[in-house]
C-alpha cells in the first residue's frame, strides 16, 4: 500500500478504478471534470483494460446510459456535480426503482441562480428522496474508501440500490491530501465480482421497470425495505473493510462526545475544521463535541439517537437551505430526537452556502451562541455569512 498526495477527484477516480467498472458514461462539469478526466487518461493509457469509457451529450443521457448498462449486468461508475446532478434527477428515480447498483461520485457545488462554482450541499441533498443510498465523505481518504464500500453495499442482494458518494467541491475535489491507495489484490479480496441475478440478456429477455398499477406501492415499499436493509449491510461491510484495510468507519462519526454538553452536527469537509476548533475549545474547558453525518440515506436513526442521548444543546449546522423551511437536516434530527427522555435544545445554523469558507473562528462563534441558547433555554435559527448590500 502506498500513500500519496491526491485530490478528492483523483481519490474518487482511484476508488472507481480499483472497483474495475465495466462502463463509465461521462459528461464534464466543474468541479467534477478532473475526476472523469483522470479516468479518461487512464483509459487512454491502458489503465482500464475492461472498461468502456463513454462520452455523452448531457447528464440526463449519462444516467440513462448508466441505467441501460447496469440493466444488462455491468458494474457502472459515473460522476457529476450541481446542475448536472439536477439534470440527472429524473433518471435517478428510475435507477433506484429498477434496483440497479450504480455508484456515482457527486462533487457538491451550490445551485444557480445566482451562479456559484463553490460548494454547498443543496445539489446532493436534493436527491435524498430518490431511493439512492447517500454517503458523504469528510476527506479524500474517506472518498476512496466510501467508493469501495459503496459498491459492496450496492451490489449486496439484500440491498441492490444505487449509491451516491458525495464530497465537497474545491475543498476536497481540488485539494491534495495524503491518501493510502490500496492494491488491486486487496480490493479484489474485499469486493466480489458483480454477478447480478436480474439482467436483460438476449437469452433471457425480461422487462424491468414497466408500468405497475396496483403493485406500485409494493415495489416502492420494497425499495424502502432494501434501503432499510442497507443499515445492517453497511455496518457489516465496514467491519470487513476494517479487517482488510485497517481503517474503521462507524454509521456516524463521533468526536469528543462522551462528556459533551454541546454537540455540533456537521456534514462533509467542514467537520475537519470543526474538530480542530473543538480541540482548542476543549483546552479552554468548553465541553463540546461533534457528530458528523456520513450516511444520509438510509437514515441511521438509532446511531444518531445513541450519539446524542447525553447532549444538552445541539447545533445542527446545515450547509444547505430549503427556502421557506430552513436547514434540510434540522427536521430530520429533530424528529430523530423527539422521543428522547430529556430533549436537548436544538438550534439551527445555516452556513457556508456557495462555498463560503467555514473557519475555526466561525465554528467557535456557533459554539458560543449555542452556549447562550443553553443558558436561556431558547433555540435559535441563525444565518451565517449574510452580507447586507
Amino acid at each position: 500500500m502506498k500513500q500519496t498526495l491526491i485530490t478528492g477527484n483523483e481519490a474518487a477516480a482511484w476508488g472507481a478504478r480499483l472497483a474495475r467498472p465495466q462502463y463509465i458514461p461521462s459528461f464534464p462539469i466543474t468541479p467534477q471534470t478532473e475526476c472523469i478526466e483522470t479516468l479518461a487518461r487512464w483509459g487512454a493509457d491502458g489503465g482500464l483494460p475492461n472498461t468502456y469509457f463513454d462520452r455523452l451529450e448531457s447528464e440526463h443521457s449519462v444516467m440513462s446510459a448508466a441505467v441501460g448498462a447496469a440493466a444488462v449486468g455491468n458494474r457502472v461508475f459515473t460522476a457529476t456535480s450541481s446542475q448536472g446532478l439536477l439534470l440527472m434527477h429524473e433518471v435517478l428515480y428510475i435507477a433506484a426503482g429498477m434496483r440497479l447498483p450504480i455508484v456515482m461520485a457527486t462533487i457538491s457545488r451550490g445551485l444557480s441562480a445566482p451562479v456559484t462554482l463553490w460548494s454547498d450541499h443543496n445539489d446532493f441533498l436534493d436527491q435524498r428522496d430518490s431511493g439512492w443510498l447517500m454517503f458523504h465523505a469528510e476527506n479524500n481518504q474517506e472518498v476512496l474508501d466510501m467508493m469501495l464500500i459503496a459498491y459492496h453495499v450496492a451490489e449486496d442482494n439484500k440491498v441492490l440500490l444505487p449509491v451516491m458518494v458525495n464530497m465537497d467541491g474545491f475543498v476536497l475535489s481540488f485539494t491534495d491530501e495524503p491518501v493510502t491507495i490500496p492494491s488491486f489484490e486487496m480490493v479484489d479480496k474485499f469486493l466480489p465480482d458483480y454477478a447480478p441475478e436480474h439482467t436483460i440478456t438476449p437469452d433471457r429477455p425480461v422487462t424491468i421497470g414497466a408500468p405497475a398499477l396496483d403493485e406500485y406501492t409494493f415495489f416502492k415499499a420494497q425499495n424502502h425495505v432494501a434501503a432499510r436493509n442497507a443499515l445492517g449491510v453497511i455496518e457489516q461491510v465496514q467491519d470487513e473493510f476494517e479487517k482488510i484495510f485497517g481503517r474503521k468507519y462507524d454509521m456516524v462519526d463521533e468526536f469528543m462526545i462522551e462528556d459533551a454538553e454541546l454537540v455540533l452536527i456537521t456534514q462533509g469537509s467542514m467537520s475537519t475544521t470543526a474538530k480542530a476548533a473543538i480541540k482548542e475549545m476543549r483546552a479552554d474547558g468548553i465541553k463540546v463535541g461533534l457528530v458528523r453525518l456520513r450516511i444520509i440515506r438510509p437514515w441511521p436513526a438509532s446511531a444518531i439517537k445513541e450519539a446524542l442521548k447525553n447532549a444538552r444543546a445541539i447545533a445542527v449546522i446545515d450547509r444547505n437551505v430549503a427556502p421557506g423551511r430552513g436547514g434540510i437536516m434540522l427536521p430530520e434530527i429533530v424528529e430523530t430526537l423527539y422521543y428522547l427522555e430529556s430533549r436537548p435544545i436544538i438550534s439551527s445554523f445555516i452556513v457556508g452556502l456557495g462555498g463560503n469558507p467555514q473557519t475555526e473562528e466561525k465554528i467557535k462563534e456557533i459554539t458560543h451562541k449555542l452556549m447562550e441558547d443553553l443558558e436561556s433555554g431558547t433555540p435559535r435559527v441563525e444565518w451565517n455569512d449574510v452580507e447586507e448590500l
Binding site: I208, E215, F219, H224
Partner: protein, 93 residues
C-alpha cells in the same frame, strides 16, 4: 401493514416482467371511449388504416382490416384517415 412487517422479497421485489410479450394477453383497451367499426361494403382494401394505426391494433387479412379491440385505444385515426368512410365509431358502454 406496519412498516416493521414489510418483508424483503429479494428478486421478487424488483419490478421485472419475466415473460416477454406478456402484455398481449391483457386488455390494453379498457379505457377506450369509442370503438371503431369496419364496414366491409365500403372498404377498398387500400391498407391506409393498417399503416396509420399508432398501436398496431389492426391486423391485415384477405378480407381487409381486422381490428384487435384488446389493443385498440379508440384514437379513431383509422376513421379519420379512411378515404371511403369504411370505418365509423360507436360509443363504448
Amino acid at each position: 401493514m406496519r412498516e416493521e412487517e414489510l418483508l424483503y422479497k429479494a428478486i421478487d421485489g424488483i419490478p421485472i416482467i419475466k415473460e416477454p410479450g406478456s402484455s398481449a394477453s391483457i386488455n390494453r383497451g379498457s379505457w377506450r371511449l369509442v370503438r371503431p367499426v369496419h364496414h366491409k361494403e365500403k372498404c377498398t382494401k387500400c391498407k391506409i388504416c393498417y399503416a396509420y394505426c399508432p398501436d398496431a391494433a389492426i391486423k391485415w387479412t384477405s378480407d381487409g382490416p381486422d381490428i384487435d379491440l384488446k389493443a385498440c385505444k379508440g384514437c379513431m385515426i383509422c376513421m379519420e384517415e379512411c378515404p371511403t368512410g369504411a370505418i365509423t365509431q360507436e360509443k363504448e358502454n
